[in-house]
Amino acid sequence: MTEASRPYTLIAELTYRCPLRCVYCSNPLDYATHGEELDTDTWLRVFREAEDLGVVQLNLTGGEPLVRDDLEALITGARGLDLYTNLITSGIPLRRDRLERFRALGLDNVQISIQDVRAADSDRVAGVRAFDRKLEVAGWVKALGFPLTLNVVLHRANLDRVADVIALAERLGADRLELANTQYLGWALLNRSALLPTREQLERARAVAAEARQRLRGRMEVLFVVPDYYRDVPPACMDGWGRRFLLVSPDGLALPCHAAHTLPGLTFDNVKDRPLAEIWELSGGFNAFRGEAWMPEPCRSCDRRVVDFGGCRCQAFQLTGRAQATDPVCGLSPDHQLIEAARAAAIAPPEVTFRYRAPTVTAPQALG
């Protein structure tokens, strides 16, 4: 193992089940074919082994983590290990008394996603009627004294309303607002022509967010994550492959990111079969893109290789069919025209309809 001495964050994908069907869902396209979810005791062991490895942050996510009825036990276990425990949720399905229990058990932060600022638009992206309930849940989060992160995934249909999103976040008393542009992998890549904004849209929204960041400094943290497609150089995806993040999928695969198991030719271990420390240090999948030996040109001789670590492996694979290719987002990539073509198409996109994942939980009222 090279520089990757310890992971800081464990992303626990507790389930792929979700009442929502967001058109940019980060779960793999084949989520329905995955095996049985880990049981409570296995998750608690994973938390212990992760903490022992150096993990200090725990994200409880999914799918929708609330559909697990053992969330109380998992929060208790996590806080017993002094992990900073963050629940990343759609807010559905949740009752106020359950949220009160989470508070009593020491849950540190609640992150709620909304899809837009108006119910009809938000629900269209989520594929279910959920918006009004989400706002109600966000209200409970603050009323119970939790810090609230509001997460909004941005795309061409809501980018022009970023000012309204910020106003809503202020009204809800959010401590942190994540304005996270869609990254075009998996479901979002499938829906790319309906989601990719124009550069002008993006720049206007970015300016609005920058103004808000100044104005709200010290009260609400405003984060604006640019889509890779409008960068000239890729960001360090996951802070580099197998460097800081450790993700465990619902069925127990230990991964460097949420889509790593969709890359061909890599072997990933299951936490049911092998201790986490061994997986982190020795598994073929984790070591595949650590260091620089795997890098092709132009990455291998590029000064930025220690900054961006070659960009996103999943993006490289999904666009070029080769996981070790230079991320096409980079202007130096021989495949960069793929990104330029997508940008050009965004200026005059064809009429498109969203493609939704199938419902996995009896949903309130499915749309579409």
């Binding site: 150096g54 900073y84 963050n86 540190d108 932060n109 810090p147 400094r217 609400m220 943290e221």
Partner: protein, 92 residues
């Protein structure tokens, strides 16, 4: 703004944790963490909302054997940075 009467406390989203690997304190908050040096940790440990800035400065200048005005300048600058990041607040 941080002033002499401020009673700083950590924001509700921020939590101190001792890290066995680095043998330092970390300030953890959603999705992020800061690895603190000894001085920063000493300051933040006193940010409970119970101590005024003057009391914090007094304690630290005795601990480090430094003049209070020097310590105050450093503490105010540090706490202002933390307040701007939404990690420290003035207790109500």
């Amino acid at each position: 703004m941080i002033s002499a009467t401020t009673r700083p406390r950590l924001a509700s989203k921020a939590r101190l944790r001792f890290d066995r690997k680095s043998t330092r304190y970390m300030l953890l908050y959603p999705e992020k963490g800061l690895e603190l040096n000894e001085t920063a940790a000493d300051i933040l440990k006193l940010c409970t909302g119970e101590h005024s800035l003057a009391e914090i400065v007094d304690q630290l200048s005795r601990k480090y054997g430094r003049d209070a005005p020097d310590v105050e300048r450093d503490v105010v600058a540090f706490l202002q940075t933390m307040a701007d990041r939404g990690l420290v607040q003035d207790a109500p």
